[in-house]
């Protein structure tokens, strides 16, 4: 017996041992069967609709994200569906196989939910608080910058260049993230700065 079967499915199978000989024994009349003939309930009823842009390629298709709960109203919101925005001039509601499955990326089992640290030589990650992680990072940055900042070159020209810490930025982030990242990285003097434009 396959106990993975749904309860309802299982019950029908459980009844399989009982003999029957005619269709009249189906147990319900035609009227009842017809009553059961209805389509699946429309799953977006009473959801919140939010306009967004697909995170993948640079066609930048307009998408509609449907959630239970309204994040703009300060509520907890769980995304239940994503589809193309028919009002968008470029994609006109269409989406590619990646875009059409965006919801499953948002809810991927491999989404990260907490800061983690892998100690030198360790074979696993362990949890770390945001505070501790951010303090460690800030300390590592300052120590390396203070040690390795090049203030002048051999000719005595002020160069204020920091080459021993590098930063790779992400091309799926917003312009606003990019700008704040730019300010932060440049103000520290980092020159090993790059993004996916190259690859």
């Amino acid at each position: 017996m396959n106990i993975d079967l749904s309860r309802r499915g299982f019950m029908k199978l459980a009844g399989a041992g009982v003999a029957a000989t005619s269709l009249g024994a189906m147990g319900f009349g035609e009227a009842e069967a017809a009553e059961a003939a209805h389509v699946r309930a429309f799953k977006l009823a009473s959801t919140t609709e939010v306009r967004n842009t697909c995170t993948y390629c640079s066609v930048a298709c307009g998408i509609l994200i449907y959630s239970k709960g309204d994040v703009a109203a300060g509520e907890k919101a769980e995304i239940v569906h994503i589809e193309g925005d028919a009002d968008h001039p470029t994609n006109r509601g269409t989406l590619c196989p990646k875009g059409a499955a965006l919801k499953d990326t948002v809810h991927a089992q491999t989404r990260l939910t907490e800061p983690r640290i892998r100690r030198p030589g360790a074979d696993r990650f362990e949890s770390i608080s945001w505070d501790e992680a951010l303090d460690k990072i800030a300390r590592a940055l300052k120590d390396d910058r203070d040690t390795n900042m090049i203030l002048q070159n051999d000719a005595g020209v002020t160069v204020n260049r920091w080459t021993t810490t590098g930063f790779l930025a992400a091309s799926a982030t917003t312009n606003e993230t990019a700008w704040l990242t730019y300010k932060t990285v440049r103000a520290m003097g980092i020159v090993g700065f790059d993004n996916q434009a190259r690859v």
Binding site: M1, I3, D4, L5, R8, G9, M11, K12, L13, A14, G15, A16, G17, V18, A19, A20, T21, S22, L23, A25, M26, G27, F28, E30, A33, A34, E35, A36, A37, H38, V39, R40, A41, F42, K43, L44, A45, S46, T47, T48, E49, L64, Y66, H81, I82, E83, G84, D85, A86, D87, N91, G93, T94, L95, C96, P97, G99, A100, A101, K103
Partner: protein, 325 residues
């Protein structure tokens, strides 16, 4: 269930879904035929027939239709292996109602290589073989708009619909013993939306609307293809099954079999055609579905509704099997 007699079929898939609660505009009163229910009352109204047109010449084989289908229908297709082809999953499954099928073809007339890509799935036949073959009352219904839908609560998982289908479409789930296939997104159509695949299709190789509009659109597409040298371009809307509510524009309409064996002239098996009412059980035995026969024999005779006593009995059975495991 009642429906709004003033609301007809949607005309396009290019629209944004409603979020306000809406009554489904596709209900019992719209059913024109139901499996194993010869005496079904006539439908309360006639909806305008709808259709999904698949223009294979515009299809880029991207599988957005597969993706949108799985997302909308909340199915989780299995992550299989690569077996040296682009078809993934390798076939239609109970969790994958539509599938891009790829054929490499050296066109002898032009000397050109062609990669023919066809979206496979339920054709929503005007004369549906699945519905004719199905022995379970109300498990397969046909609405007046042309949609052929499986009502899973009524399905007994016998697999006769697979045999009855001239296109080999339905697939029976090993998990819940129900048969699955494309619903033409009947839940979307019921609120004025088109199917998820047609909305998603990037090149609009899949379009949706009234059958009449789709035929007009298809004719224009055939004309364009002819102007590009596809002299045999045409529409695939097979008469043998009364026409279909999912139909194709093909560049080689004279050779549908090129497209991963799309049937030249699909017909419902004459055996299935001959079945009427109670003779169905005999007919079913005759075509010898041995694999499901033993389960079927019992299932056919049992109620789909479960009494309290039976439920108790079932629970005992579960407990017993768990103890034994």
């Amino acid at each position: 269930m009642t429906t709004d007699p003033n609301v007809d079929s949607p005309r396009t898939a290019v629209s944004n879904p409603p979020i306000q609660p809406m009554k489904a505009n596709l209900g019992a009163g719209d059913v024109m035929r139901a499996s194993a229910m010869p005496d079904l009352a006539p439908p309360e109204r006639e909806l305008t027939p709808v259709a999904k047109l698949i223009d294979v010449s515009k299809c880029i084989g991207c599988k957005a239709c597969q993706s949108a289908c799985a997302e909308w229908n909340d199915t989780v297709p299995e992550i299989e292996h690569n077996v040296g082809m682009y078809e993934n999953p390798h076939d239609l499954t109970p969790d994958m109602f539509t599938l891009m099928r790829f054929t490499e073809y050296d066109n002898p007339d032009t000397g050109e290589f062609e990669w023919l890509i066809r979206k496979d799935g339920c054709m929503h036949c005007a004369d549906p073989g699945c519905l004719k073959a199905c022995p379970a009352p109300g498990a397969i219904v046909q609405y007046t708009n042309g949609i052929v839908d499986f009502i899973h609560d009524n399905c007994i998982g016998c697999g006769y619909c697979v045999t009855g289908c001239p296109f080999n479409i339905p697939r029976v789930s090993k998990a819940d013993h129900k048969s699955y296939k494309c619903t033409l997104c009947s839940d979307r159509v019921a609120v004025g939306q088109g199917p998820a695949c047609a909305k998603a299709c990037p090149t609009q190789a899949i379009v949706f609307g009234t059958k009449e509009d789709m035929l007009t659109h298809a004719e224009a597409r055939v004309e364009d293809l002819k102007s590009r040298g596809y002299d045999n371009a045409g529409i695939y809307d097979p008469e043998g099954v009364g026409g279909t509510h999912v139909f194709y524009v093909l560049h080689h309409a004279d050779k549908p079999a090129l497209y991963s064996n799309l049937p030249e002239a699909p017909r419902i098996s004459p055996v299935v055609e001959g079945w009427k009412g109670a003779t169905k059980t005999v007919g079913l035995a005759a075509i010898g579905l041995a694999a499901v026969g033993s389960i079927l024999h019992g299932l056919l005779g049992r109620a789909n509704q479960v009494s309290a006593a039976e439920e108790h009995e079932a629970e005992e059975l579960v407990e017993r099997s768990e103890r034994d495991a």
